[in-house]
Symmetry: C2
Subunit: 205 residues, 2 copies
């Protein structure tokens, strides 16, 4: 038997449901196309409940951005933290990529966030800060792998992270548009190839 919820807990549930519904509707319709009413309805409430939890539509959208990016960073960090070897880290990324491409609405939502940020000067710095954190996570992963293999860095560290990030995002998008053209774990294959190449470069030069 579940214990009776306090008012705070009850509101947290409402807030969570609204966030979940918001991520769905934003993914389907985009920021402008999504209406507060549809979000509230899908969460099982009315607009009144929505406005007692969020100042407006943009605030819920921003809350989703935070949630979503924190999650990404945490995933990458966890993979790095738990991996006992470079191979294990790559394997962790491979698993992550396998589970992710199925999530079409996740991609739509992410892309929608980015467009929104590009169009809103107040929001952009927040998203950029998050993207940089993700980039740093990739940078740490790349440099750790290279040094574990005893290979020198073939480029400035931040650029290595950026390259992995860009490749990850680009492959993700093309996989959404044309699934047959993009094997789910192509990113990991490329990363493995790059690592081998870095070693070969170091030996050769």
């Amino acid at each position: 038997m579940p214990q009776r919820l306090t008012r705070e807990e009850s509101q947290a549930v409402t807030r969570g449901r609204l966030l979940e519904a918001g991520s769905e509707v934003f993914a389907e319709k985009g920021f402008y196309g999504a209406s507060v009413e549809e979000i509230a309805e899908r969460a099982g409430y009315t607009r009144g409940a929505f406005y007692s939890n969020f100042a407006d539509k943009a605030e819920l959208f921003l809350a989703l951005i935070d949630q979503r990016t924190e999650q990404s960073i945490e995933e990458i960090s966890a993979i790095l933290r738990d991996a006992s070897s470079p191979e294990a880290a790559l394997e962790g990324i491979r698993r992550r990529d396998f589970s992710r491409p199925l999530d079409r609405s996740w991609f739509l939502l992410t892309t929608e966030f980015r467009l929104y940020a590009l169009r809103n000067a107040k929001v952009r710095p927040k998203l950029v800060a998050r993207e940089r954190q993700v980039r740093q996570a990739f940078t740490r992963a790349a440099t750790a792998q290279l040094s574990a293999l005893g290979a020198p860095l073939p480029a400035p560290p931040e650029q290595l992270g950026l390259i992995v990030q860009a490749l990850d995002d680009g492959l993700w998008m093309h996989r959404q548009l044309d699934p047959g053209a993009v094997p789910a774990d192509l990113l990991v294959d490329v990363l493995e190839l790059l690592l081998r190449a870095a070693v070969a470069l170091a030996d050769g030069g």
Copy 2:
């Protein structure tokens, strides 16, 4: 002295201006955020003129997608046809996709198209066909470069093109979000590095 326009020509001008204005407003506000009134106004007309040229907002958007995809497929084909060397082909593609003068709004519109296509089954094949053309161009350039260097292909040819395309798109996006983090010619640097790596791999393995 320009000759007097026929009614058809005059309407074609109106239509052209509406399309141009539409591409701007869609880039700025997205599909849902763009209003028919703003598009018409920016073109120098009223909503009345809009509705005598297009059935509704979606029709203008679809016309824009048709226009742009046809145009860009033709451009890519021309680059492939005219390029005197693989290097020239790659350079042509890179210039075209990465260094547009109206980089920002072109990126926004492109992304808006992609989102729209992902949400609309009828439009998607058109865009996918265009993406495949670009990919093919990258593939040809990559394989030609590698064979010119006497290096074996480190992956299936289509995957090489896809990797370049994804990297290009990913860097393009991150450059929009965080210009200072992405040197303008990073893509070329990376491709050069990859080529050297492929040679090193061939020698080493």
